[in-house]
């Protein structure tokens, strides 16, 4: 069953078109969202997170139409979101911050303490749970962000650049967590790091200039790179550049 159905999605930021007629259907699994800077990845994630409103098109999440504001709360209840900059409260401990997000998500009060401990343990911060966030390293703060996103056991998880600031060991652990989360939920990961996509994602969507440039899985993207002589050091980088080139060539041809 599809978790997300997007048809004809348009997002404008003043005079700039961030997303232009995006059609997308995603189900359970880990979906990598790749694309150059300014391609529209964050705009797409923000619409799916119910934070930004589209200027056109239809977005259906977990069977609920996002244009109906009364249904948006139900979507948010089953949604986890880690923005690029999640802005924590410096005086809060890890436990307090994750508990606060759980309270905002209207988890039953009795269930919050256990949910917080479970989420914090999953990101490997159990021994730091009562430490103030401002004393943690950048990578640990990022893991606090991941913990708040999973505290409500969401059906849809949206991560925008989740591995920024994580060291290689932490990234390996995060990929394992992604794979685990993707068995029961729809996980969308916006990233520049193709290694993360190759290692953890079951599907890949490539966005360029506000449009979907490519959809497939890591293996097909790698195969495209090998057959089309894309450039890059990693097999997936070659697939990424080949897919981008093909999309831009066809878009330029259509414009003529």
């Amino acid at each position: 069953m599809s978790t997300i159905r997007v048809t004809g999605l348009r997002v404008r930021h003043r005079r700039t078109v961030a997303l232009d007629g995006v059609d997308l259907t995603l189900g359970t699994g880990v979906h990598g969202l790749l694309g150059p800077n300014g391609a529209g990845k964050t705009s797409l994630i923000r619409v799916l997170a119910t934070v930004a409103r589209p200027s056109g098109g239809r977005v259906e999440i977990l069977g609920e139409d996002l244009s109906d504001h009364r249904r948006r709360g139900e979507v948010r209840r089953r949604l986890g979101y880690l923005p690029q900059e999640f802005g924590y409260y410096p005086g809060f401990t890890v436990r307090e911050f994750v508990a606060y997000v759980a309270w905002l998500k209207e988890l039953p009060a009795a269930a919050i303490p256990a949910a917080v401990e479970r989420a914090v343990a999953r990101v490997g911060l159990a021994d730091r749970i009562d430490v103030r966030i401002r004393t943690l390293s950048g990578g640990m703060v990022r893991r606090v962000g991941i913990a708040q996103a999973i505290v409500n056991e969401p059906r849809l998880l949206l991560f925008d650049e989740p591995t920024a600031g994580l060291d290689p060991e932490q990234r390996v652990e995060f990929r394992a967590l992604l794979r685990e989360l993707g068995t029961a939920a729809t996980v969308i990961v916006s990233t520049h790091l193709v290694e993360d996509v190759a290692a953890a994602c079951t599907e890949v969507t490539l966005v360029d200039a506000g449009r979907i440039a490519y959809q497939g899985n890591p293996d097909t993207l790698i195969a495209l790179g090998e057959s089309s002589e894309g450039t890059g050091d990693h097999p997936m980088e070659r697939g990424y550049t080949a897919a981008l080139r093909a999309h831009r060539t066809s878009a330029a041809g259509a414009a003529r």
Partner: protein
Amino acid sequence: MTGPLLYARSRALPVTLAALAGTAVFALWAAHRMEMYLDPDRRVPIVALAPLLAAAMIGASLRTPSDELDRTAVRPWWPLRLGQLAGLTALAAALMSPAVLGHPDVFGPPALIRNTLGCTGVTAAAAVLLGARLSWLPAFGYVSAVYLGSSGVRGRAATVWAWPMQPGAQPGAWAAALGAFVVGGALYVVLGARPEGPRG
């Protein structure tokens, strides 16, 4: 720790409460100090400036560092925002009123309460339009301009535009200050403070 307490800490309410108490003590000290020296009946500076300070502190508490996450909350924001704004305004007025006890029809507690409402309303509207960090600026500019420029001005219109400098019983000044509080407060309760930071 319960959710409402975490909300209060997320908005730095303990610091804000301490700052409001400090403002009240300062206003009380300044009021008595004035009586001792040159101008024993001159309460206008307290009535005009103490609410301005209190409104600036309330405005700072309207800031949230995690606006992006806040917008994915299931819990409705309006009761929290309304409680915060109305509670802090009432508390500020109650704490500062002892500084100007007596003379209720001139520059006593009613004028101070009116100005607290007006300044907080302007500050709340500014938090929505400019962000909480700069929310103190419009009220500061307006009240300062009125303070410096309204002496000797008479007429019905002046009781409205120069509301921070009017005696406590002026209906026009009350209408203007209450209007600012209702409009500014409603804007903040519905929309929240303007996001600051990368997406602000």
